[in-house]
Structures are given as structure tokens and as C-alpha cells.
Amino acid sequence: GDGATSEGAFHEAANFAGVLKAPVVLVCQNNGWAISVPRARQTASETIAQKGVAYGVPGLLVDGNDGLAMYREVHAALERARSGGGPTLIEALTYRIGPHTTSDDPTRYRPSDELALWQRERDPLVRLRTYLEREGQWDGARQEALEEEMRERVARIVTAALAEPMPPPEAIFDHIYGTPSPILEAQRRELRAHVQASGHKEKPHA
């Protein structure tokens, strides 16, 4: 994201990619806001794409809400990477319609007309649909059918996820090392004994 380009790791990765001519495509989803910090307060450079210049990495600024443009540019960048042409940095320009988290309140820091503009005129789903309908490739009936299919699919996945059994408490000791250390094995036994003794009655926050 746009915020992450302020972290040192982004600059080190772009530099390495340039020096090593790495077969990599760096895609930055610039949605304008890193929680409350607008893009203009994140970096003084005019675009994020131009940061590629300093690392010898081609930088592209793409309308991230134009699905076809993104497809074309990512496809070309991947081709270049696979054929030895080196890395590409793509800045996909978009907007964060919602809050950063469920506890975030964007009305504290963000103008509502900006949100309205992006919602009203730049929604990528609406734009793609409008284009396809104009081209005679899409219509209301197919849209409804697709939405119904997607609703069912999401509901199926959610139901399946909720039906997953609770992981056992001891799962917290899995995947730490290839071979568990004696200390970890002892701690696993300790937790097992505690859970058995307390009858799974752990109460949060007490």
C-alpha cells in the first residue's frame, strides 16, 4: 500500500530488485489513505511510481480502478520479468472506500465529498460492467445470475469455515521448529495438564 512505501523494507526491496534484475513485479495499491494519513503526507514525491526511477526500476502509474488497464500492465510486467527484462514497479491508483478497521472512524479525518466522488464515479465494478454492457458483452440478467452465484458461493464458504472444529489448545505449539525442542514438548504437556484439570473453562480477560 501507499503507507508501506514509507517503510525501509520497500526501498531495500526495490533497490535489490533493480541491482539483481530480479524477476519481480512490485504492485503498490495506493488507496490514498494509511489509516488517517493522506498520501500527500506520506511522501513528498508526486507519485509512488516515480520512486522506481531512483532504483533503476521502470515505474508505471496505472488507474487501479480500471480492471482492463491493470490486466494489460501487470501482464506486460510479468512477461518482462519472465523473459529476463527485470523488475517493474506498478502504482495502482485507487481509493479506500471503507474504514481501515472496524474501530476506525474516517469521518474524523477525511472529507466526505472525496469519498462520494470515488463511490459515485470511479467504482471499478460499475465501470467494468458499464463498459461490458456497452460492448454487448453483458446484461442485467447475467449480472443478477452472477451475483446470485457469488452470494451462494460466499455463503457456502462462510458456512464451511464456521463448521471447522476449534483447534485444540495444543495447536499453539505446532510449526515452531521442524523438530520440537524438549522445552516446547514439556510446555505442551504442561498446557495439556492444565486444560484437563480446568475442564476447558478458560475465561478470557481474567
Binding site: 494519513v37 480446568s198 478458560e202
Partner: protein
């Protein structure tokens, strides 16, 4: 006297410090217009301006590194890192720069900065949002580490940390931000760094804890009281330098001790406390000192975090085993 939550007490302390001392400034991600992701800096930018309450780019190493420079040249920066786990990004600045400025310059430069960050489990956060890293910073010579448990102490210790001539990691209990209220006096007062507090008196066993684990230890002590076991709960408050005298005095009285922390067990601060008790109070001990801690694993995902962090039930179990030794 107003009654405040811990996060309100932090906000109050920052307001006092900013109003009293022009050298104090607050910087971090979302601390300005948004008032901090936990609202610890709510209203401060409006009161003191964007020059002193500064929204920074998203870069923890940049926030701490900038604070190091500000502190070395006479300012009193108070940096906010949104979650202690995000200080992984800034370890070089904290451990290799802030902690060593005084030593490296033979005392010519000091680095009086404060880094505030919430830590610990309890809010069902995703990975890296619940890390308990106090031992990393206690193990870094030159850093002080403070971890208040109550709103009153949070304000008094934060003002003392800002006054302190050395870099202070100020670790706030994420679960304790809005867990309760205490009376918090208006205006300036300080709670000295390096001094523990007896949170509950008792004759049978000493329970040493800090931050939210004090609340957990007190709940265990209440339950044990019903069984005729009176636990003394020591709230360490400052982890580096920690108040060994207070621990030893209590252990000499009770003859038994349990150390509680949320961080992983191996090489945790609990180990240092047990070693100190062994060195200074071995002949007072009636039983080996027990530890109740997190396990040696990354903080697990939300559904399992209750099994990771010490609970009052686990603390009570350990106390009973120490009593029954």
C-alpha cells in the same frame, strides 16, 4: 478528583507535559488528526498544534530515528508506536542508537526520548499486534522499561519517564486501556521510576507481576483468600531497572514466590527475578520460585490466545503448588 481510564490518564499526562515544557513533542502514526488509534493523543493536536503533535509517515524506524536526533539535540520527544510488535521495524534505532547514545559519546550526548506502545493479548488482534517484548528491551543496556498497571501510575510514570534523562520504553497494557477507572489527580505528579508497589498485602506468598498481569494476579489472590491463602502482590511498575529490594523484602516475609508474565518463558524477565531471589533470599525460601508465563511460541491467533496468556486460574494453581511444596 476525576476518575479516568488508563488511556485517558495517558492523554492527561501528555497534555500536562506539552503544556509545561516547550521541548516536549508527540510524534507517530495517526497521533494528530485522528488522535491515535486508541485515542491516547485525542485532542492534543487541536490544543498544541501540528508542529508539536506530528502525524508521521508510516515508518517506525523513521519515527524512532527522528526521535533520537530530536532527543540528542535538546528536545523531549514522546513517540507513539501503534503496537509494540511494530517496534521490530525500529530495533536498530532503539537498540543500536537510542540505548547507546550516552555510552558511545562518553556522556556528551544523552537521548531522553520516550517510546509509548501498547502490548499484550486480550483484544483478539491479528498477528504482531499482541507481542510481549519487554524482555528484549530489559536486555538492552541503556534503555529503561516501564509498564504501568493502573491509570494513576500510568500518568505519574509517564511524566517521570518524560523527565528522565535516558531513553524509556513505556509499555501500556492494551487490555487495560479501558478495563477500569481510578482516581487520577489533575495536573502534574510523578511516580518514581524504579520503585515497585505493593498492590495487595499478604503473608503467605509473594506474587510478582506487571502491567495487565497485576490485574490477573489480584484476581487469583482474591480467589486464594477464600482458601485461607493470603498472597502479597507486587506490581513491579518499572522493569528496568526493577525494584529488587521490594521483591526481596516481600519474599523474606512470605518465604514463597511466584512470578507472572505474559511474555514467553525462556529468558523472560521472570528468570532474572528468580535468579535475584536465589542470590539474595535463598535462605528465606520455603519452596522453589514458580513462574507462570506465556509459552515459548509466537502469540497464537485470537481463538487460542486465552490458552497462551496466564489466567488467574493458572496463577492460583502455581500458588497452591508453591504453598504445598
Amino acid at each position: 478528583m476525576p476518575s479516568r481510564t488508563l488511556v485517558e490518564a495517558i492523554n492527561d499526562a501528555l497534555g500536562v507535559a506539552l503544556a509545561e515544557d516547550e521541548r516536549v513533542l508527540v510524534l507517530g502514526e495517526d497521533v494528530g488528526r485522528n488522535g491515535g488509534v486508541f485515542r491516547a493523543t485525542d485532542g492534543l493536536m487541536e490544543r498544541f498544534g501540528a508542529e508539536r503533535v506530528v502525524d508521521t509517515p508510516l515508518a517506525e524506524a523513521g519515527i524512532i530515528g527522528t526521535s533520537v536526533g530530536l532527543a540528542e539535540y535538546g528536545m523531549r520527544p514522546v513517540a507513539e508506536i501503534q503496537f509494540l510488535g511494530f517496534t521490530y521495524q525500529a530495533c536498530a534505532q532503539l537498540m543500536a542508537q537510542a540505548a547507546r547514545a550516552r555510552w558511545r559519546s562518553n556522556g556528551r550526548f544523552t537521548c531522553p526520548l520516550v517510546v509509548r506502545a501498547p502490548f499484550g493479548v486480550g483484544v483478539r488482534a491479528p498477528e504482531l499486534h499482541s507481542e510481549a517484548l519487554e524482555a528484549h528491551y530489559v536486555h538492552t543496556p541503556g534503555l529503561k522499561v516501564v509498564a504501568p498497571a493502573t491509570p494513576y501510575d500510568a500518568k505519574g510514570l509517564l511524566l517521570a519517564a518524560i523527565d528522565d534523562p535516558d531513553p524509556v520504553m513505556f509499555l501500556e497494557p492494551l487490555r487495560g486501556y479501558r478495563a477500569g477507572r481510578t482516581e487520577v489527580p489533575e495536573g502534574r505528579y510523578t511516580v518514581p521510576l524504579g520503585a515497585a508497589r505493593v498492590a495487595r498485602e499478604g503473608r503467605d506468598v509473594t506474587v510478582v507481576a506487571w502491567s495487565y498481569m497485576v490485574t490477573v494476579a489480584l484476581a487469583a489472590a482474591e480467589a486464594l483468600s477464600g482458601e485461607g491463602i493470603e498472597a502479597e502482590v507486587i506490581d513491579l511498575r518499572t522493569l528496568s531497572p526493577f525494584d529488587a529490594d521490594a521483591i526481596i523484602a516481600s519474599v523474606q516475609k512470605t518465604g514463597r514466590a511466584v512470578v507472572v508474565h505474559e511474555a514467553a518463558r525462556t529468558a523472560g524477565l521472570g528468570a532474572e527475578i528468580v535468579a535475584t531471589i536465589n542470590e539474595r533470599a535463598l535462605l528465606s525460601l520455603e519452596a522453589p520460585v514458580a513462574r507462570v508465563t506465556g509459552y515459548d511460541v509466537p502469540i497464537p491467533p485470537a481463538l487460542l490466545e486465552d490458552y497462551y496468556a496466564p489466567t488467574s486460574a493458572r496463577v492460583a494453581e502455581a500458588v497452591r503448588s508453591v504453598i504445598g511444596f
